[in-house]
């Protein structure tokens, strides 16, 4: 186990997601504690003191987001859990939704109590079937047990909770696009200001937090901010659910305590690269986070400041490990095809820019590339930066610039020789088979 866990603290079984077992683990105890001994403002103070940063990708301090909400200003306030997990490489919230849905519900009740929320939502990507069934069943259990839809512990605090399913739009994982989608429209992101905590869902103050972020609220209230801060580092309190995939021997979801050594995580906890290959690159937090080379990963610890200094970010915790022998040009082609497909079309630089970048990388891979294409890709990336309403255009550009900066020789080789330096291979396990080497 990579450090002290806060969320993955129980053995997952066929029944561990049910209310009875959650109660047996002390579930809904934090809610009772808050409703009987804490004022709403005390819950916000505790969450702020815990210093938790958002787990969805942007690492925004939760306390600072919540501080904008004035629970007694006479308007409705809304709370939305972002379960639109769609950043390639990321599948950690799915673990929470499938295995501990009641912790999310309890945490949303605590957050709703703190923020003066009557109606809360979970916006979940439409493809998630099992997570939807599990959470919907847990919500029905919570209604039947009187946690939802009824005044709690004589406080007059009542909250309703509804799941709204998305329908295949990546951009709806962006908080304002998400709210527009809950309003029953095309998921176009909105310009800020106003911030969503000022004018969010139907122009009312709204907090949107990631599933994992919210799930930590019950943990913080139960153990207290001081004890919570003992886990992790001063800059990055707590843990991160890391979903690791790619050419790694043991892919899956791991809870990593902030400050844990990265190489130890990769090579001990996750069993190293398949077939004992060398680590060529690591995308540390969803494909929008800049790629690191194997050498960059030496001596890194898993925490925010350290990854920022290394030129990347923890992002969404969606790690993709890339083994030696992988064609980075074709990998970037897959990424640019994705962004082109997912651009919502609202902002011209992203709508056109993603298409241009996708066509340029296709041209390079088809052997028709020109050396100036690389500068063209960088120029489009730079021109997109900061010119779009949401961060998708920026992120696609950063990732592209990162790939070219770290692996420029491969791109130049492809253009000069009209073929991949690595045989165009993405699936190295298959290439092992072809070379007669045993699969990992």
């Amino acid at each position: 186990m990579p450090g002290t866990p806060l969320l993955m603290t129980f053995p997952v079984t066929a029944t561990s997601h049910l209310l009875a077992e959650y109660l047996a683990r002390g579930g809904y105890g934090a809610l009772e504690k808050a409703l009987t001994t804490m004022q709403p403002v005390d819950v916000t103070k505790e969450v702020t003191a815990a210093g938790i940063l958002g787990h969805g990708g942007a690492a925004f301090p939760v306390g600072r987001k919540w501080a904008v909400i004035k629970p007694n200003d006479g308007q409705p306030h809304y709370l939305c859990a972002n379960a639109d997990e769609g950043e390639p490489g990321t599948f950690k919230d799915r673990w929470v939704l499938e295995n501990n849905p009641h912790q999310l519900i309890e945490s949303m009740l605590l957050s709703g109590y703190a923020l003066g929320v009557r109606n809360a939502f979970v916006y979940m990507r439409g493809e998630f079937d099992m997570p939807y069934r599990r959470l919907q069943a847990a919500i029905e259990e919570a209604y039947a047990a009187g946690y939802l839809g009824k005044p709690l512990h004589g406080t007059g605090f009542v909250m309703d909770l509804v799941i709204i399913q998305g329908a295949g739009s990546y951009v709806c994982g962006e908080a304002s696009g998400l709210l527009t989608s809950i309003e029953g429209k095309k998921g176009y992101p909105r310009n800020r200001p106003p911030r969503l905590t000022v004018k969010g869902l139907y122009l009312r103050p709204t907090v949107v937090n990631n599933v994992e972020t919210l799930s930590n609220v019950a943990v913080i209230v139960r153990m207290g901010a001081e004890a919570f801060r003992k886990v992790g580092t001063a800059r990055s309190p707590g843990t991160q659910l890391v979903s690791i995939s790619g050419h790694i021997a043991k892919p899956g979801v791991y809870e990593v305590e902030h400050g844990y050594p990265l190489k130890k995580f990769l090579f001990e906890d996750c069993g190293g690269m398949i077939g004992g290959r060398k680590l060529k690159g690591l995308i540390p937090g969803g494909i929008s986070a800049k790629v690191l080379t194997g050498e960059d990963c030496e001596n890194l610890t898993y925490e925010h400041g350290v990854f920022d200094k290394a030129g990347s970010a923890l992002g969404s915790g969606g790690m993709i490990a890339i083994a030696e022998g992988t064609c980075m040009v074709r990998l970037l082609q897959v990424m640019l095809r994705f962004w082109h497909h997912e651009s919502c079309g609202q902002c011209t630089p992203c709508r056109e820019g993603m298409g241009w970048m996708h066509r340029i990388i296709d041209r390079i891979v088809s052997g028709q590339g020109r050396m100036e294409d690389l500068d063209q890709l960088i120029a489009i990336s730079n021109a997109n930066d900061g010119t779009t309403i949401c961060g998708m255009g920026d992120a696609a550009g950063y990732a592209t610039v990162g790939f070219i900066a770290k692996f420029r020789d491969e791109f130049e080789f492809f253009i000069q020789n009209k073929r991949s330096k690595c045989g165009g291979v993405l699936d190295v396990a298959e290439s092992f088979g072809a070379a007669g080497v045993a699969h990992a």
Binding site: V162, A167, K185, K186, S245
Partner: protein
């Protein structure tokens, strides 16, 4: 009229009303996405008559429903094959063999991604990240995820789908 013969939206009305009770007043527009999902699950796609019925029930402009249907890739306006195979082609899946998997699928079914077999049994699509990278490669069959697929497992799966 027996329930089975009722128009789809009318048949689903009790479910829609139950959802409405958990929403704030005047949140009819928020019901657009959940209603469309249920209609599609029931009929397989969203028909013109469903749109008309939802415009009447929710009181939202027809244009809004049309926009939602055309924006979101999961909504369909036409019927598709009985089994919808959606193969992920994103970063991790392609690093774990999805390209060979899609080629094999297309070869076995005799169709290209985006097409339906002549007998109406299978529709093949390529999709972006399904959030299941730890168990790549992944193919969605209707609403269920099939994970850690190999060509052998795929053969077995296709054999079970009638």
């Amino acid at each position: 009229m027996s329930v089975a013969l009722m128009p789809v939206v009318e048949r689903l009305m009790p479910e829609f009303e139950a959802l409405k009770k958990r929403l704030p007043p005047n949140f009819e527009s928020t019901m657009v996405m959940p209603c469309l999902h249920r209609v599609q699950a029931e009929r397989g796609y969203v028909a013109d008559e469903d749109i008309v019925a939802l415009v009447g029930y929710l009181g939202v402009p027809r244009m809004q429903i049309e926009q939602v249907l055309s924006y979101y890739t999961m909504f369909r306006r036409k019927p598709i094959g009985r089994w919808h195979l959606q193969a992920c082609r994103n970063v991790t899946c392609s690093m774990r063999g999805s390209e060979r998997l899609v080629d094999a699928l297309a070869g076995k079914l005799g169709i290209k991604p985006g097409e339906t077999t002549a007998d109406g049994r299978f529709t093949l699509s390529e999709v972006e990240c399904l959030g299941s990278c730890g168990t790549a490669p992944v193919v969605m069959v209707n609403e269920a995820y099939h994970e850690n697929l190999s060509i052998e497992k795929l053969d077995e799966l296709l054999g079970r789908l009638s």
